[in-house]
Structures are given as structure tokens and as C-alpha cells.
């Protein structure tokens, strides 16, 4: 496939991406051939172990993309304070790096973390080994090829300019294929589970897989200009495109940045705290509430725009109703810590998850508030939105990922703790402080901006020019860059710590961490 793309390509983006696929494909063929050729006779005990190789690889990719995405984030933040900080090359310009940040961090960092942990969680909650040895690798490697195509494409200027779906048509198609495989693998493994009931974490992972597929396909339907070129045109236009885009965009938040990570939370929090989930019944309400309500609310990104009023009303009202299931999940998580508060105090890993649940509650409250039309008239287009985004992504998504990583990595290495337990503590405080500095700066920035834009003096004249509002942002943009740098430092520490831990692996005691080889439940 890579060869075909590279050979037939009519533009440089397509040619490079074809070459990337080709090199990756060849590399894999050799690797696989090598493994098959001098493979030791198949290990009959394989089925008695979980298949954690893909998870390990996925965690590495998570950390690698964390670096890419966060460095891009800090850089982009710095550019808004020092616009001249960048060399005059197209690839380092703000507009091209910003989607590198968003895609790199959401899909690269977030997505790899979700896939990697979903394999881990799925196997343990089903007490069954992954249904297939090859497809987990294809899913992960294929997914990373998508991310790499997307990000290098933006640097070269290939973009559909649909927020969070900027990747061009061929990358979109490729992702669909990867996703179908992922879903199949998930279902096949689930069918092998030992416990008849499916655990809540898997409901969320399933919702993530299914709904993301639905959103991705509809929003990305496009007509390529040529089968050999990277350029395409979205079939949707104007107001319909806007609604579909934000139906997608909001639910990328909902089913990627929320549902998937709730799955993660529902596994790693009780495991680390050693406590049962506080309420099964509340789980049911929050899960179905989230799945049903979330899908309606995308239109809150389009208040007061040319989108018809009636859709805005639906978006607003469902956003308010959505608060209840959202807080139900946050509350369920926090109540699960009842009886484990001592651990929260002493264990930075558990504290990561606790703070994640708190920020989840905070950002969903903020979200529902911002979704109210008059509030949105102030916040929309401003840095308040960016503040909200990062209270969700830094405070919730990134924190829960770090909590999961710090739970998972020592276990994978057969150790009690990370190699440098103190560094986890440092990371925790850097992350919390960085998030607070970032978010508080952006709240101030956004509210200042919004108020300046709409301020009228007593004589009915606008008080400020647009440029004055730009100038007022400078101190906040500087603070944000500093908060981001703190957060990045924490992530670097985490990466080094993981490396040290996995290098110091011991042989694992698999007594309690292995599949039950019994009758499958279905």
C-alpha cells in the first residue's frame, strides 16, 4: 500500500506519506519474518499469561506523543507571547503547529493511552487473554501511523481544517480500517470473559470505540480531488458542516476525552485504592446519561452564530442535564476512595487519580455553565474556552493517564514501586501547579477579553479596540507558557522514571495476574 501511494503520488505530502507507510511496512515484514523464522517452539503456557507486549509498546508511544504534543503546546504558547520566536519557516508557524499540538496530544498521547490501557483492562476484567496475537500490534502500529501521517501532514500544509479532524482523507480511511480491527478484537476478547457480566470500564471503552467510529466517519466524508493526491473537499458545507463538525468536535471530547478515560478511571482507581466501586447503580445512571445526553450538546459551540436558534436551545438544555450524570461519575469515583483516604494522602499515584476526578467534576460543571447561551456570549472565541479545555485535558485527561501509568508500569516491571518513587511526588506537584497556573491565567485572560470586547461606555460607544484586548493578553500568555512548561517538566520526569523502572524489571509473580482458563461466558 505504501509503495502504491509513494509511486502514484501526485504531490509531495502523498509521496512522503506513502514512503512512511512503505518503510514501516517493510520494517514490520522483516521483523515478523525474523520472529517466525527463528521463533522458539510455541510456548504452550502462553494462554496462561496476559498479552502485555502491546500495552507496553502503547505506553511508550503514549509517552513519546506526550513529548511531541506538549513540546508543541509550550512552543505554541510561547509564540503567542513572542511571535518572533520562530524561524521564518512555514513548518514552525503557529497555525501549522497548533493542530500538531491538538492532534499529537489528543490522538497521540490520549489515544495511545486509551488503546494500551484498554488491552490491559479488558484482559484483567475478563480474566482472558487477548483473542489474537497479531491484531493488537496492527491496531497500535496502524493507529500510530495515522497519527504520524496527520501531524507531518499539517507541517507540510495538508489539512482539511476541521478542528480535531484535520487529517486528510486517506489517513481518515486508514483509521477506519484500524478501528474496525480494534472493535473486532475487543469483541472477540470480551466473548472469552470468565465473568458473565461485563464490567463498567468495558462499557465505557466500548462506547468510546463505537461512537468515535460513528463520529469520525460522518464528519470526515470527503471527496478527494484525485486518488493520487492528498487534497480533498468535505462533502458538507456551511451551516450543516458547522453542526456536523461540532457534533463531532464535542463528542470527540465526550467519547474520546471522557468516556474512554472514565473506563480507565473505573479500573485503575479501585485497583490502586483497593476499594470496590462505590455504587453500581450510580454507574448505570452515569453511563447511560453520558451516552445519551452528550450526543445532543455539540451545538453549544455555535451559540449566537448562523446555526438556527432551535438547535442552540437543544444544545444548551441537554448540556445542563448532562451535568448530573457527569457529576454522578465524578462523585462515584470520589466516594470509592471512602476508606482509602490515608492512601490518597501517602500515595502520589492515587492522588493523581483523585485530582483527575476532581478536575473532571470541575470542568464538566464549567462546561455546562459555558453552554448556557448568555454565558457563552461572553466566553465564546476567548481564552476562557482554552482555560476550560485545559482544565479538562491537563487536570482530568493527563492526570488520569499518569495515574494509570504509575499503576501499570511497576506491575509490568514486576516491582512494587516505580524506580524513583520520589520523582512521582515531584511530578504530581509540578502537574497540579502547572495546571492551576495555566487554567487560572486563561480564566483571567478569557474573561478580560470577553468583557473588553463587549464593553460599552455610558455614551453607547464601544470602549476598547480589538488590539487593546490583544495587548491585555500578554501577561496571561506568559503565565500560561510557564504553567505549560511546568507541566511538561513533570511529563519528562515521568518518561525517565518509566524508562528506569522498565529497565529494572524483575520476573513477575503471575499467581494472581493471569487469565482464568475456563468456559467463556458467551
Amino acid at each position: 500500500m505504501g509503495l502504491a501511494m509513494a509511486a502514484l503520488a501526485r504531490d509531495s505530502v502523498m509521496a512522503l506519506h506513502g514512503t512512511m507507510a512503505l518503510v514501516l511496512g517493510l520494517g514490520l515484514v522483516f521483523r515478523l519474518g525474523g520472529v517466525l523464522y527463528d521463533a522458539p517452539p510455541a510456548d504452550p503456557d502462553r494462554v496462561l499469561r496476559y498479552d502485555d507486549g502491546p500495552t507496553r509498546f502503547g505506553i511508550w508511544m503514549t509517552l513519546a506523543w506526550a513529548m511531541v504534543g506538549m513540546v508543541a503546546g509550550v512552543w505554541v504558547a510561547a509564540l503567542l507571547y513572542w511571535p518572533e520566536a520562530t524561524p521564518p519557516w512555514p513548518a514552525t508557524s503557529f497555525g501549522r503547529l497548533r493542530p500538531v499540538h491538538t492532534t499529537g496530544i489528543i490522538f497521540g498521547f490520549g489515544g495511545n493511552a486509551l488503546i494500551a490501557t484498554s488491552f490491559w483492562v479488558l484482559q484483567r476484567t475478563s480474566r482472558a487473554r487477548l483473542a489474537d496475537a497479531l491484531s493488537p500490534w496492527v491496531v497500535l502500529i496502524g493507529y500510530n501511523l495515522f497519527c504520524a501521517w496527520a501531524v507531518t501532514g499539517y507541517l507540510m500544509g495538508a489539512t482539511q481544517s476541521k478542528e480535531y479532524a484535520e487529517a486528510e482523507w486517506y489517513a481518515d480511511l486508514w483509521l477506519v480500517a484500524v478501528w474496525v480491527l480494534y472493535f473486532t478484537l475487543y469483541m472477540r476478547t470480551l466473548a472469552r470473559r470468565a465473568e458473565p457480566h461485563i464490567y463498567v470500564a468495558n462499557w465505557y471503552y466500548l462506547a468510546f470505540i463505537l461512537v468515535v467510529a460513528m463520529l469520525h466517519i460522518v464528519n470526515n466524508i470527503a471527496l478527494p480531488v484525485s486518488w493520487a493526491g492528498s487534497k480533498s473537499y468535505t462533502v458538507w458545507a456551511g451551516v450543516q458542516d458547522a453542526m456536523i463538525q461540532w457534533w463531532y468536535g464535542h463528542n470527540a471530547v465526550a467519547f474520546f476525552l471522557t468516556a474512554g478515560f472514565l473506563g480507565m478511571l473505573y479500573y485503575f482507581l479501585p485497583v490502586r485504592a483497593g476499594r470496590p466501586i462505590w455504587s453500581y447503580r450510580l454507574s448505570i445512571l452515569s453511563f447511560w446519561g453520558i451516552v445519551f445526553f452528550y450526543i445532543w450538546v455539540g451545538s453549544h459551540h455555535l451559540h449566537y452564530t448562523a446555526l438556527p436558534y432551535w438547535v442552540q436551545t437543544l444544545g444548551m438544555t441537554f448540556s445542563v442535564m448532562l451535568l448530573v450524570p457527569s457529576w454522578a461519575s465524578a462523585g462515584n469515583a470520589i466516594a470509592t476512595l471512602n476508606g482509602a483516604w490515608g492512601k490518597v494522602r501517602d500515595d502520589a499515584t492515587l492522588r493523581f487519580m483523585f485530582v483527575a476526578a476532581v478536575f473532571y467534576g470541575l470542568s464538566t460543571f464549567e462546561g455546562s455553565f459555558l453552554a448556557i447561551r448568555p454565558v457563552n456570549s461572553l466566553s465564546h472565541y476567548t481564552d476562557w474556552t482554552v482555560g476550560h479545555v485545559h482544565s479538562g485535558t491537563l487536570g482530568w485527561v493527563a492526570m488520569i493517564i499518569f495515574g494509570a501509568i504509575y499503576t501499570l508500569v511497576p506491575q509490568m516491571a514486576g516491582r512494587e514501586t516505580m524506580a524513583w518513587p520520589k520523582a512521582v511526588e515531584w511530578h504530581f506537584w509540578l502537574a497540579v501547579l502547572g495546571t492551576l497556573v495555566y487554567v487560572i491565567a486563561m480564566w483571567n485572560a478569557g474573561i478580560t477579553q470577553g468583557l473588553m470586547w463587549r464593553a460599552y461606555d455610558a455614551n453607547g460607544a464601544l470602549s476598547y479596540s480589538f488590539l487593546e484586548s490583544v495587548q491585555a493578553m500578554a501577561p496571561y500568555y506568559l503565565l500560561r507558557a510557564m504553567g505549560g512548561a511546568m507541566f511538561l517538566t513533570g511529563a519528562v520526569i515521568c518518561t525517565l522514571n518509566c524508562r528506569a523502572t522498565l529497565r529494572a524489571s524483575r520476573s513477575r509473580d503471575l499467581q494472581n495476574d493471569r487469565p482464568l482458563v475456563a468456559q467463556a461466558a458467551e
Binding site: T313, M321, N459
Partner: protein, 299 residues
């Protein structure tokens, strides 16, 4: 907390055994499942969640009744309040505009001298003018009206077209070289002149503002022959006479030789947008008054 006596009746109890572990911390029973070590408590549904859900639902229903909300095929429900986004926008705009018209109407038929001598009115009007200038004009003429290469300064007393507020208002409204009825200012292309001649002209013109241009140089001769028709004898013309004076500091592009050479080679056709489509006549007059006071405001 009440508990039904028969564990089989309890959804959540293991249907085969009825076994439910009791969690020592909370005192609740578990659902009986075990997922690789994870268990769930059968904590009853918290009432507060149900109440919250109900309250938000009531809020939503009220909103649906009052506001446009549900699609009905080719139409949608309008809501009891009968709100329409476009009309609300126009009303909102009207509301601020009414406040503004309280003083802005004075600017519709301008008697600039009278306006200027009304300190109360000026106190109301000048902040508005400053904002209009910053959002519309500052991009070219600079935040303080100091201009830049290609864009004339407005804060000096030298005007291309005249500094009377009436003249300035006219310039702002119709623009320069912008639309059919704009002011016209076109400096023809002199690329057909020998480069040496252009150089001589440039030397001559660059010396004009300093008053150092000798009257008997080849440049002066060329100037009289080619340029004086527009720029006047000795370059003292004015745009009202057809072309800007070249002897004062009211410069658009620059008074150094290199810039003048470019002007000669390419010609010039400065473009000042017409604002009568974007701003109301009163706003144009307001800006004209503001602009005409810029030289005084300059420290």
C-alpha cells in the same frame, strides 16, 4: 438503609448463590461480581442524583416551551416567547445605537467649529472616535496617526488634501483611488526615462524638502519638463492642484533617493479605502474631527 430479606430479589445479588459480601467500611453489600479483583457496592441510588436530574429536566422543559426548540420536519417549534435570533440582534444593536444617537446625531450635519467648542459633547464623542480610529484606521495610519511607509501621517499639520474637517470627512467617506467616486491620485510611470535621468530627478527631488535643490541642475530641467505640470513649479504643488507638494514633510512613501527612484519606475497609486459603506455619515464626521485634532494632540 433497608434490605429486602430474600437476596434473590435484589438485582445485584449473585443469582446463583445469593452471596453478597458486606463492605466493612461503608456497610453496603457488594453486587457479588468480581472482575480480576474489582468489586462493586450495591449502594442504593442516591436520592440527590434523582432530584438533580429531575430539576435539570424541568429546566429543560421550560426552556423548550419558551424558546425555539424542536424540529418538526420542514419547520420547528417557535416557543411561547416567539424569539428570533436575527430580530434580537437588531433590537440589541438598536438599543446601544439609541444611546449613542443622543450625541452622535449632532455630527450628521456638521458645523465642526460649533461641535469642537462644545466640551461636553467632545467629552462624549472623543473616546468613541478614538475606538473607531483604532479599529479601522490605525492599521494603516498607526495607533497615534503617525503613519508609515506608504501610509501618510495624520498627526502633522501638512495635509495632502487639506486639513479642514470638511475636507478630511470627504476624504474618509469617498477614499482615495478606492471607488469610482473616490479622490484620484495617480503618479504616472516614468520607466521610459533613461535611468540616468531618473537618477538626476531623484537627486533633485530628494533635495527639495531641504531647500537645497539647485535650480540649474539637469534634474531641475527634467523636473520642469516632466513633473511640474502636476507637482507645480519647484514642486510646491498640492493634491488639490493634482499632485502632492514635494517640498514639505507630508510624505507618503519616503523622501530618500531610493524610494523616489522606485516611485518613478513603478508609478504610484495610493489606496485609501472609502468608508461610506462601512461607517455612517455621522461616524465619518466624528472621525474627521478626531483626525483634524491629531496634530494638536501631538506632544
Amino acid at each position: 438503609m433497608t434490605r429486602t430479606s430474600d437476596p434473590h430479589d435484589l438485582p445485584g445479588a449473585d443469582p446463583h448463590t445469593g452471596n453478597r459480601l458486606i463492605d466493612p467500611v461503608t456497610g453496603y453489600d457488594t453486587t457479588g461480581h468480581d472482575w480480576g479483583g474489582i468489586q462493586e457496592l450495591n449502594t442504593p441510588f442516591p436520592k440527590i442524583a434523582a432530584i438533580a436530574l429531575l430539576l435539570t429536566f424541568i429546566y429543560a422543559v421550560i426552556a423548550w416551551i419558551l424558546l425555539p426548540a424542536w424540529p418538526t420536519g420542514r419547520d420547528y417549534t417557535r416557543g411561547l416567547w416567539g424569539l428570533d435570533q436575527g430580530r434580537m440582534a437588531r433590537d440589541g444593536y438598536q438599543a446601544v445605537d439609541t444611546v449613542r444617537q443622543g450625541w452622535l446625531t449632532h455630527f450628521t450635519t456638521p458645523d465642526f467649529a460649533a461641535l469642537k467648542s462644545d466640551p461636553l459633547l467632545m467629552a462624549q464623542a472623543m473616546p468613541a472616535a478614538a475606538r473607531l480610529f483604532a479599529d479601522n484606521c490605525a492599521a494603516c495610519h498607526g495607533a497615534a496617526g503617525a503613519g508609515g511607509p506608504g501610509f501618510p501621517a495624520l498627526d502633522d499639520a501638512d495635509w495632502l488634501w487639506g486639513g479642514e474637517p470638511e475636507t478630511v470627512a470627504e476624504t474618509i467617506a469617498i477614499g482615495i483611488n478606492a471607488a469610482e467616486d473616490s479622490r484620484v491620485a495617480e503618479m504616472p510611470v516614468f520607466d521610459w526615462l533613461e535611468p540616468a535621468d531618473r537618477q538626476a530627478l531623484a537627486t533633485h527631488v530628494a533635495a527639495l524638502p531641504k531647500g537645497e535643490a539647485p535650480a540649474d541642475s539637469p534634474g531641475a530641467a527634467l523636473f520642469a519638463e516632466n513633473c511640474a505640470s502636476c507637482h507645480g513649479d519647484g514642486g510646491t504643488g498640492g493634491l488639490m492642484a493634482g499632485a502632492p507638494s514635494l517640498t514639505d514633510d507630508a510624505v507618503i512613501y519616503g523622501q530618500d533617493e531610493a524610494t523616489i527612484l522606485t516611485t518613478l519606475k513603478q508609478g504610484r497609486r495610493g489606496f485609501m479605502p472609502a468608508w461610506n459603506q462601512r461607517l455612517t455619515p455621522a461616524e465619518v464626521n466624528l472621525l474627521a474631527l478626531y483626525v483634524s485634532t491629531l496634530p494638536e494632540a501631538k506632544p
